[in-house]
Symmetry: C2
C-alpha cells in the first residue's frame, strides 16, 4: 500500500487491504475514503473496525453521516463505541439518537464492558404467561418488526418483569392456537446475573450448548439476552488475550497487522525490559558463586541445561493451570490439590530428566575424558539439581496463577517468560547449593 | 473421593465430583454407577463425557441400554462416538440404530473429525423456492416434529439439492401467506465447503456474526449445518490446544483434573525429554568456548541474561504469529512482510534492552570495582550480544510458525520452550563470537 496516494480513494481496494491500511491513515484520509466507499463496503468495513476506531471515525464525520451510523448500530455495539469516546464527546454521540435508544444505551453504559450486562442486547422477545399461542405469535410478529430480530426464543415475564420461563418460536408455531404460553413454556431457564464476568458467561454457554442466554439482575428481573455469536467473539478475544499474555506481551487488543509499530514496541518492550532487569538477579546469583566457578569451571557449561529444565517444567505447569482456570475447571479452592499433584508430577518428571542427563554425562565421559576423573560427581550434581529445579519449577509454575488470582490479578500474567526468568535465578541458587554440598572436599 | 467404595453408587455425588472421579473408576464401577443415577443426571453426565469415554461406557452397557443411549445422541455426536471405537466394535454400535440414522452416520463418518463435514448436523430445515409462505410454514412444522429442531433458518434448495437461498422463520411468520419463498429468500448465503478445517469455519462464523452456517460440497449441494453452539466448543478447544502446545506440552484433550497421572506424565515428559536433549547442544556450544571462559570468567555470569533475552523475544514473536495465524489474520504468503517487520522490531527492542543492560553494567562498576578495568569492554560485549540475540530471536520466533505450516505441521508446535531452547544454543554461539571479536587483543 502506497501511503503517498489517497489510498482509500481507490475503490478497488479489498476489505482486508483497507483494514490493514487503516491504522496508518490520517483522519482526513479515513473520512474522505469512507465517504467514497459504496454503502455496502462501508458497512462491512465499519462492522470490522474496533469500537475505538469506530468512535474516532464518527467524531470526524459530518453530523448527518454520524447520525446515520449511530442509528445503524445495535444498542450493545453503540454502547461499546460510546465507551471509547472521551467524556465531552459522549454527549455529541448520544445527541444523535432518539430518546428511547438513548435511554437504552445509558442503561448499558452503567455496566462494565466485560460483564454480562455489557455484553447483552437489551432487546429481546417477551411474552406473558397468560397469552394464548395465537396472541403470542401475533405479538411476536409485531415485536419482530419494531424491536428485535431475536424472536426464536421468547422469554416469559411476570408482572414484576421477573423471568419465569422460556418458549421457542418453533414450539409456538407447531402448537394448537388456543393453548397458553404457561402450558408450553419451560420453567427452568438457565440464566446469568448481569454482573457475571464474560469468561464465566462463556463457560455457561459451552456447558449447556446454548444459542441464547437471558441476563437477570439480583432480583431475577430480565435485563437482556446474550447470543452465541457474541460468545464466539468473547471466547476468541479471551483466548487471544491469554495466549498473548502467556507469551510475555501485553494483550494487543487488535489484529497483528493492524497494530501500529510504536504501539507494538510498547506492548512488547515494557515486559522485555522488566524481564531483563529481573534477569540481573540471576547475574547477581552467579556472581555470588564465582569462586565455585573458578574452582570447577565445568560447572558453567551445564548452567543453561539446568535452568532450562526448570523453566520448561514451570512453563508447562503454568500454561495448564492458567487454561484450566479460564475454562472454569479449576477454582481458587483447588490450589492444595493442584499443589500436591504438581509436586508429585515435578518430582517424577525431574527424576526422568535427571536419569537422561546422567546417562548423557556418562556417555560423554566414555567418548572423551574431558570431564576428568570426577565425572560421576559432576553427573550427580547435574542430576540432583535437575530433580530439585524441575520439582520447584513445576510447583512454582502451578501456584503462581493461583497467587495472582487470589490478589485479584489475571492468572495469565504468569507468562512463560516470567516463570522462566524467576526459575533462572532460583535455579542457579539451587544448582550452586547442590554443587557446594556434593563437591565439598573433592572439587570444592 | 474414596476409591475403595463404589463411589458412583452414592447418589448424592454432584455432577462435577462424578466427572472428576470418572478417569480413575473401573469399567464395572462406571456401568454400575451409571445405571443407578437418575435419568436426568445420567444424561447430564453423558453429555459432558468425551466421545471416547462415551464409547467405552456404551460398549460395556447391556444391549438395551446401549440402544437407548445411541438413539439419544444427535447424528453428529453419534458419529464422533463411533469414530472413537475400534473397527470391530463400530459394527456393534451401528447395529443399534435404525436404517435411516445408520445411513446418515455412515455419511458423516466419511469426514475427518476436524473439518466442516465432521462438525455439521446433517439435519436441517429445507424448502423449495416455489413454495408459498403458507406451504413453507406447514412443511417446517412437520420437519420440526420429525427431523430437526433447527428450523429458525430454512435453506432453499433447487431440484439438484443446490443451495440457492436462505429464509428465516421470523420472516416467514411475519409475511403474507400467499408470497413465495423465492420472493422472500436472501440469495447470497455465506457457506463453507464440507472439507474446510474447523478453525477456518470458526473464523467465517466470527467474521459474519452468524448463528448457523450451511455446509456444501464441491458442486454446491447442501450437506448440513454448523451451529454457533458447536462453534463455541470448537473455538474453546482449538484455543486450549494452541495454548497447551505453546506452553510446551502435547494437547491434553481433556479437562486438567480428569487426565490420568500416567497420561499426564507422558504428554509433558516426552516434550521435556526432547528439550533436554536439545539443550545438550548448548552444553556442547559452551564446551567449545571453555577456553574463553577460562580466560574471562566474568563472561559466564552474563550467560543466563543473554540467552533469556533471546528466548523472551522469540517467545513473544512466536506467540503473536501463531495466534494471528489461528485467527486467519496471517497467511503463508505474508511471511516476507512479517519477517521484515519482526526484524525491525527485534533490532529496536534489542537496542533498547542493550542500552538498559549497558547502563546496569556501568552502575555496577560505579558501585564496586568487581568487573575490573575492562568493564566498558564487558558492557560492550553484553550490549552487542543482546542486540544480535534479540534480533535473531525475534526473527526465528516469527518465522518458525511459517516454516511449520509450510510443511503442513501445526504452527503452535513452535512452543515457547522450543523457541527458548533453540535460542539457548544459538545465543551462546553468538555471545562467544561477539566476545571473541571485541575482546581480541585485550582480555582474550
Amino acid at each position: 500500500v502506497e501511503l503517498d496516494d489517497p489510498v482509500v480513494a481507490d475503490e478497488k481496494l479489498s476489505d482486508s487491504e483497507l483494514l490493514e491500511a487503516w491504522p496508518v491513515l490520517s483522519t482526513e484520509d479515513r473520512v474522505e475514503g469512507f465517504e467514497i466507499l459504496s454503502r455496502e463496503q462501508a458497512e462491512r468495513i465499519f462492522d470490522q473496525l474496533s469500537a475505538r476506531d469506530q468512535a474516532e471515525l464518527l467524531l470526524a464525520l459530518p453530523l448527518g453521516e454520524r447520525r446515520i451510523w449511530m442509528r445503524y448500530l445495535s444498542p450493545d455495539d453503540a454502547a461499546d463505541l460510546i465507551q471509547e469516546a472521551a467524556q465531552q464527546q459522549r454527549e455529541q454521540l448520544l445527541a444523535t439518537l432518539d430518546d428511547a435508544a438513548r435511554r437504552e444505551i445509558l442503561a448499558l453504559l452503567a455496566y462494565k464492558e466485560d460483564e454480562a450486562g455489557g455484553l447483552m442486547n437489551p432487546r429481546y422477545a417477551r411474552l406473558r404467561p397468560e397469552m394464548t399461542v395465537d396472541q403470542a405469535l401475533s405479538y411476536l410478529r409485531r415485536q419482530s418488526r419494531q424491536q428485535t430480530e431475536n424472536i426464536y426464543y421468547a422469554y416469559v415475564l411476570d408482572a414484576d418483569q421477573k423471568l419465569v420461563g422460556v418458549v421457542s418460536l418453533r414450539e409456538l408455531v407447531s402448537s394448537p392456537p388456543g393453548r397458553t404460553v404457561r402450558e408450553l413454556m419451560k420453567p427452568d431457564v438457565v440464566r446469568v446475573n448481569e454482573q457475571m464476568d464474560q469468561e464465566a458467561v462463556s463457560n455457561v454457554f459451552a456447558a449447556n450448548d446454548l444459542v441464547m442466554l437471558p441476563v437477570v439482575d439480583d432480583q431475577g428481573r430480565m435485563k437482556g439476552v446474550v447470543t452465541a455469536d457474541d460468545i464466539v467473539d468473547v471466547v476468541r478475544e479471551e483466548a487471544t488475550e491469554d495466549i498473548q499474555k502467556m507469551g510475555g506481551t501485553a494483550a494487543l487488543d487488535a489484529p497483528y497487522l493492524q497494530v501500529a509499530p510504536f504501539e507494538m514496541l510498547r506492548k512488547r518492550g515494557v515486559w522485555l525490559a522488566l524481564l531483563l532487569l529481573a534477569e540481573f538477579f540471576t547475574v547477581a546469583a552467579m556472581h555470588q558463586s564465582q569462586d565455585k566457578l573458578q574452582a570447577v569451571l565445568v560447572l558453567a557449561i551445564f548452567i543453561p541445561l539446568i535452568i532450562a529444565s526448570g523453566g520448561n517444567c514451570g512453563s508447562q505447569a503454568a500454561t495448564l493451570v492458567v487454561r484450566a482456570m479460564a475454562l472454569g475447571e479449576l477454582r481458587l479452592r483447588d490450589w492444595w490439590r493442584v499443589a500436591r499433584r504438581e509436586l508429585a508430577m515435578g518430582l517424577t518428571l525431574g527424576s526422568t530428566l535427571a536419569a537422561i542427563a546422567f546417562a548423557m554425562v556418562y556417555v560423554w565421559h566414555a567418548l572423551s575424558t574431558e570431564l576428568g576423573q570426577h565425572f560421576l560427581l559432576i553427573g550427580a550434581v547435574v542430576a540432583a539439581s535437575i530433580v530439585a529445579v524441575s520439582a520447584w519449577g513445576t510447583l512454582l509454575g502451578s501456584m503462581l496463577p493461583f497467587a495472582l488470582r487470589s490478589f485479584g490479578l489475571d492468572p495469565a500474567s504468569a507468562s512463560t517468560p516470567l516463570v522462566a526468568t524467576i526459575l533462572d535465578g532460583t535455579g542457579m541458587v539451587i544448582y550452586f547449593a547442590v554443587a557446594g554440598l556434593l563437591l565439598r572436599g573433592t572439587l570444592l
